[in-house]
């Protein structure tokens, strides 16, 4: 069971039902459950999409693509069935928010999938959870079964004449499967190797039919938008960045945890105020603000608003909402090595720059960290990473490259301090075992 925290600055929308027993359907109904779906039915497809557009909701999976716009790409007429796919693969290091949604508010996810299906004219929705989330799969399965038992899903929902089925589906361990096209491959029973785009999933997706793929948090926001109105949601955040976000604050912090804060909340305040600052007498060294795939920020760069556009301007990305806080006991080379080891392990191996690049970076960093580094390794790492950028079929290549470039650029001295056979001067941690 994941632990809940709270802070006065929180604005609880998606987390509104956390800790309130909303997994129980009767309780969920007391909390206005399934009203959003009924309202959506009466609104009709176009009005739903317009409301979501007005909300400025942007994808919480990482890329921040406007949700209403994504839905509007699905063709109205289609010879093949259309689908909605909820991405609950949550595997980006530093991210543990979808877990709380599934655990505390499973029906909100179901409602979100239903409303998306109504908006695009899909008759089936799939909720994909990573294989490790077995207890959450059980919670979701029960929620789906309960909703079927009441007739909320299935044939002729709420007397609308619309049939809508929802199914849960389990993965079996693979980060890359979180990438939308690999996710579809996995759901179809294959290896999680991405597909070439275009065509985009909205046109050719699951089993060749038009498919909307959204992150679990994105979909769980939708019922609130339908009930509260797009404008209300938009106003919670900053221009073009509507609503709130579940930020996962991790590292040696006084009060780490998942906090729901308005889009655009100041990053520095998040660290020093919301999560109480550093613990154990540590000092701040850097912040990785959006999951391990994004560029690091130095302590003098964190006085920024946490929304997609501001983070981009600050030279990083809002990503998955995983705010990883590094303290002065962490060696940046060691950190880089662990990050690279992850991407090397998870690369599906399809494109050469990603497969070979991550492997070379891992080998170089392993040798480098153990005192066998030579000066040209530093530029070589950057060179390797820069040559992966934009040269791969899916964004995992970029995700592996961008952080490394930023570490070398911003912490070059720490790399240099490892040269001349010196053992790591920053920590005495055990050598990493290779996965």
């Amino acid at each position: 069971m994941a632990y809940l925290v709270s802070h006065p600055d929180e604005v609880k929308v998606v987390s509104k039902h956390f800790g309130m027993g909303a997994t129980n359907l009767d309780r969920y109904l007391e909390l206005d459950g399934y009203k959003a779906v009924q309202k959506a039915i009466s609104m009709g497809a176009d009005a739903i999409i317009n409301e979501v557009k007005a909300s400025n909701l942007r994808g919480r999976g990482g890329a921040g693509f406007p949700t209403g716009l994504k839905w509007s790409f699905v063709p109205k007429q289609s010879a093949k069935p259309k689908y909605v796919l909820c991405n609950g693969d949550e595997s980006e290091p530093g991210t543990c928010k979808d877990r709380l949604i599934f655990e505390h508010d499973p029906h909100a996810v179901i409602e979100g999938v239903m409303i998306a299906a109504l908006a695009v004219g899909a008759k089936s929705g799939y909720i994909y959870l990573r294989g490790e989330y077995r207890y959450l799969l059980e919670i979701m399965e029960k929620a789906v079964a309960d909703a079927y038992a009441r007739g909320f899903i299935g044939k002729n929902i709420f007397g609308s004449g619309i049939d809508l089925d929802i199914f849960t589906h389990s993965g079996a361990g693979a980060y890359e499967v979180g990438e939308e096209s690999a996710l579809m491959e996995s759901l179809e029973g294959k290896r999680g190797v991405p597909r070439i785009r275009p065509p985009f999933p909205a046109v050719v997706g699951l089993w060749g039919g038009p498919t909307v793929i959204n992150n679990a948090e994105t979909l769980a926001s939708v019922p609130h938008i339908i009930l509260g109105g797009g404008e209300w949601f938009a106003n919670l955040g900053t221009p073009r960045n509507g609503g709130t976000r579940l930020f996962c604050l991790s590292g040696e912090l006084e009060k780490p945890g998942v906090y729901e804060l308005p889009m655009g909340y100041n990053l520095k305040k998040m660290i020093y105020d919301v999560s109480g600052g550093m613990t154990k007498g540590r000092n701040l060294k850097g912040v990785v603000p959006g999951g391990s795939s994004v560029q690091i920020l130095t302590p003098d760069e964190i006085d920024v608003a946490m929304d997609f556009d501001s983070m981009m301007k600050a030279g990083s990305m809002l990503g998955s909402g995983g705010v990883i806080v590094l303290d002065d006991q962490m060696c940046i080379v060691r950190f880089a090595l662990r990050v690279t080891k992850f991407y090397q392990h998870e690369s599906c191996g399809w494109c050469i720059p990603c497969r070979e690049g991550t492997d070379w970076m891992k080998k170089t960093l392993t040798r480098f960290h153990s005192g066998g580094g030579v000066a040209k390794d530093i530029d070589n790492l950057k060179y390797l990473a820069e040559n992966m950028l934009g040269r791969t079929f899916c964004p995992l290549g970029d995700a592996a490259a961008m952080p490394i470039i930023s570490y070398v650029q911003k912490f070059r001295k720490e790399f240099e301090d490892h040269l001349d056979g010196r053992p790591c001067p920053y920590e005495k941690a055990a050598e990493p075992a290779l996965v």
């Binding site: 290091p93 530093g94 992850f342 075992a433």
Partner: protein
């Protein structure tokens, strides 16, 4: 080969959820493994037949997913996350402690077949780091003492 009643039921319901049979593959393989302990030649052949695939195609899928395996591991599988959020909070020491306590290395099992330990990637417990999963059970905010308690508890349970 016959599936257990439980697996049989899983399969027959799931197969109605998708337009193609092979779509049941990934979750079904995991359910089989949970029950049988590993994806044996026999089970692979059985699921291949049922999904109109060759055994090789099924093996090809199995080899992609980190949770799927063709050989059994210890009854209690300690999967220790050493990824960044956990690393920042001492995951290396936690991992070392697990290995030392059990007297085994990464991806090894104890001779009695009870315990297995492996280093894994982020398990979605970053805010409650360091963390591990024992089979499907999350154990968070770990300390060496908590690990001792967990392992000793399981050993005691087995002795009874």
């Amino acid at each position: 080969m016959k599936f257990s009643d439980q697996l049989e039921q899983r399969f027959s319901t799931m197969v109605t959820h998708y337009p193609t049979k092979r779509s049941v593959l990934v979750p079904m393989l995991l359910y089989i493994q949970d029950e049988v302990g590993a994806l044996t030649d026999e089970t692979i052949h059985e699921i291949a037949q049922r999904t109109d695939l060759s055994d090789l195609e099924v093996r090809n899928v199995i080899s992609y997913y980190s949770m799927l395996r063709t050989r059994p591991v210890g009854k209690y599988n300690l999967q220790v996350c050493t990824n960044v959020s956990c690393l920042l909070r001492g995951a290396d020491d936690i991992f070392e402690h697990c290995k030392k306590k059990l007297g085994i290395g990464n991806k090894e099992s104890t001779p009695d077949g009870l315990f297995h330990v492996e280093e894994v990637e982020c398990i979605g417990a970053c805010c409650w780091a360091p963390a591990l999963m024992m089979n499907y059970e999350f154990h968070e905010n770990l300390t060496p003492a908590k690990i001792d308690e967990l392992i000793d508890g399981l050993k005691k349970k087995e002795e009874q």
